[in-house]
């Protein structure tokens, strides 16, 4: 596609742009807004958990009579918090924003393979996210059957659930188009000399993530169609015979299976969690290599571990279903694969950790987030083990232990990695620097309060407090001793929210700052830093497309004149 320099209107240059950098920024800004929205929903929920039945300040009037949150509203907030954070926030930021902006730059090409398809995938995401939010405004409110939408509850739920399903169709389509673009770009458009084993780890993680999205999402799309049919046309794919709801015998043909939904849902949703973590691994690797001034220890091990992880992610899903009456042989199968899949994660974390050894560590803001990622993801991973083992999972399933586990991997895990990425790549995107003091304040307070929110969840979970309880377990005797933790967690959550102000202010004042004129302030080796201006050229990225001669992390090469050697520097 020839990029002739015809006169571009504001619409074609900024709104319907086909340039991967603009599209990456569109994904980035949109997803950050949705992350804030999803976070706000949680802050409202946490008021109810801390002070059940009390009128909620500020937004109370939007929630219910006298400002008191009804339980259905709590359920809506919960379902939408999960949906928004995963599908409208983290994945579009990690994959759509970072992937689109930096992958072509890191492999040395001028754009993605299919620029128009790229624009289409962003707009699908945008439309899908609007559809999701419309759910709050329909009679009965937004979806309230959990982000997992289990039937029969979801099939009998109010209109918001239909809106959720339609929104998912748009979001899944967006994802599929994006994955195809990433895969073809990596396979076909690598610069001369950029062989597979010279790819930055960031590119590897985006590539594997794209495969997961490509093959795991469609069964959920199929399942969504089936659930739509159940809701709108009266089929019984997921509705068992003889269903009674609130004492009323339901008028369905029956013969369906709620478990069928669970299988099709988790077939996606398990690979989805690796979609959530893999780009984070990629970003962390870039930041750690750069700030230790050393090559990554175990590049090959990391690549093989990630590929193996991607494959294994497709055969562990029923560990989300241990308590559905699964036979012991099939339970043993999934338990075994689940235990096996912890191995590549450990390999990756170990390579990252060992990469620090003997390094000349620079403790700048991106590196702080990257360093914190390692133990935080470690806690998340380790707490996954009792969940992956069927016997202990029977006690812990659907308790706060699960919520603690997955939030540790996603929140001080992935989201910290995404912050690291934003601070790291900000100078490349804008040509300006962020404020280090504000960055460090953002980091320290976020780190403290993340642990304040999520660590107590393990305690509550072990005590048997179930998830999705609108009163935080208040009516249960077994929760009495750990109930006080609700207020602790809520206050931590609100303070965590306040801590983000450091980030928002930093972004605003840094964007308004002066350009520094530096194109590679961190002294990085990858060609996104070494061979482009800051920001990169509007059309074509590179003045001359580089040829690659070296691996991605040639820091502190003996005999070299500087402590980093660009990939594009001749040997």
């Amino acid at each position: 596609m020839s990029t002739d320099h015809h006169k571009e209107s504001f619409l074609t240059k900024y709104i319907f742009s086909t340039d991967h950098k603009i599209i990456g920024l569109q994904y980035g800004i949109t997803s950050l807004v949705w992350l804030l929205v999803g976070f706000t929903l949680m802050m409202i929920m946490r008021y109810q958990l801390a002070y059940p039945g009390n009128p909620v300040p500020i937004v109370g009037n939007l929630l219910g009579e006298g400002g008191i949150m009804p339980s259905e509203m709590y359920n809506s907030l919960g379902a939408m918090h999960g949906t928004i954070m995963i599908f409208l926030g983290v994945v579009p930021l990690a994959f759509g924003a970072f992937g689109n902006y930096f992958l072509p730059l890191q492999i040395g090409t001028i754009d993605m393979a299919f620029p128009k398809l790229n624009a289409a995938s962003y707009w699908m995401y945008f439309v899908g996210s609007i559809v999701m939010i419309v759910g709050f405004f329909v009679p009965g409110g937004a979806a309230n059957s959990g982000w997992t939408s289990y039937p029969p509850l979801s099939v009998t739920a109010t209109m918001g659930q239909t809106v959720w399903l339609l929104g998912m169709v748009f979001l899944i389509t967006s994802s599929l188009l994006g994955s195809i673009n990433i895969l073809v770009t990596v396979i076909q458009l690598r610069a001369k000399g950029m062989t597979w084993m010279k790819l930055p780890i960031f590119v590897w993680t985006q590539f594997i993530t794209a495969f997961l999205l490509l093959l795991a999402f469609p069964p959920l799309e199929a399942a969504s169609v089936l659930q739509l049919m159940d809701r709108l046309v009266g089929t019984s794919f997921f509705m068992p015979s003889g269903l009674v709801v609130s004492g009323v015998v339901q008028n369905y043909t029956g013969g369906g299976s709620p478990l069928l939904w669970q299988h099709l849902f988790w077939f996606l949703a398990h690979p989805e969690v690796y979609v959530l973590i893999l780009p984070a691994f990629g970003i962390i690797t870039e930041v750690i290599a750069n700030n230790t001034r050393k090559p990554i220890w175990g590049y090959k091990a990391m690549v093989y571990a990630m590929v193996f992880l991607g494959f294994m992610s497709f055969i562990v899903w029923a560990h989300h279903m241990y308590i559905t009456g699964m036979g012991t042989s099939i339970g043993a199968f999934f338990q075994t694969t689940t235990m096996i899949i912890s191995i590549p994660s450990v390999v990756i974390l170990t390579t990252l950790f060992l990469s620090l050894w003997g390094g000349s560590i620079r403790f700048n803001t991106p590196m702080l987030f990257a360093l914190a990622f390692i133990p935080m993801f470690g806690i998340g991973g380790l707490t996954g083990l009792p969940l992956g083992l069927a016997a202990s999972d029977i006690h812990l399933h659907d308790t706060y232990y699960v919520i603690g586990h997955f939030h540790y991997v996603v929140a001080p895990g992935t989201i910290f990695a995404l912050f690291a990425g934003i601070y790291y790549w900000f100078p490349k995107i804008t040509g300006k620097r962020t404020n280090e003091t504000l960055g460090k304040l953002h980091f320290f307070f976020s780190f403290i309060f993340m642990n304040g929110v999520f660590m107590p969840m393990f305690v509550q979970g072990l005590a048997g407090v179930s998830r999705r309880l609108w009163d935080g377990g208040e009516i249960y005797a077994h929760a009495a001793d750990v109930l006080y933790l609700n207020e602790v967690m809520s206050i931590s959550a609100w303070l965590l929210g306040l801590a983000q102000i450091f980030f928002i202010v930093n972004m605003i004042i840094s964007l308004r700052g002066k350009k520094t004129g530096e194109t590679n302030p961190w002294g990085a080796t990858t060609i996104d830093w070494t061979d482009t201006t800051s920001p990169p050229l509007g059309h074509g990225n590179f003045e001359t497309v580089p040829t690659v001669y070296r691996g991605p992390y040639e820091y502190s090469v003996p005999g070299a004149d500087k402590d980093f050697t660009p990939q594009s520097e001749k040997g």
Binding site: L215, S257, H263, L264, F267, M326, G327, S329
Partner: protein, 100 residues
């Protein structure tokens, strides 16, 4: 496919016609088999078997898979693996379900 000569294209065209006849033939065969009372197992195996033959003909000759590149083969191998997992594991789960 950019490098095929006109003669090779004409040879391909002959192949397309042969494949078309084969497909029509197998369609008749599969319908005919369905009228025989063979029991569940045999019916399923035969129906899917004939469908697989027809599908392979479409894939190999109409979609030119028979002389495609290795990258495409890898894509399809990975897809086929995931497809089999999707077909077999939920079913295995259900068959192993504890009956109360």
């Amino acid at each position: 496919m950019a490098d095929l000569t006109p003669e090779e294209i004409r040879h391909h065209v002959k192949t397309y016609v042969i494949v078309f006849v084969a497909l029509a033939f197998f369609t008749i065969v599969t319908v005919a088999i369905s009228y025989l009372d063979l029991g569940v197992g045999a019916s399923v195996v035969l129906a899917l078997g004939v469908a697989s033959i027809k599908g392979s003909l479409v894939a190999c000759y109409f979609m030119h898979l028979i002389d495609e590149k290795i990258t495409v083969y890898w894509t399809l191998l990975i897809t086929a693996t995931m497809f089999l997992i999707l077909m077999l594991l939920p079913l295995g789960n259900m068959l192993a379900q504890i009956k109360i």
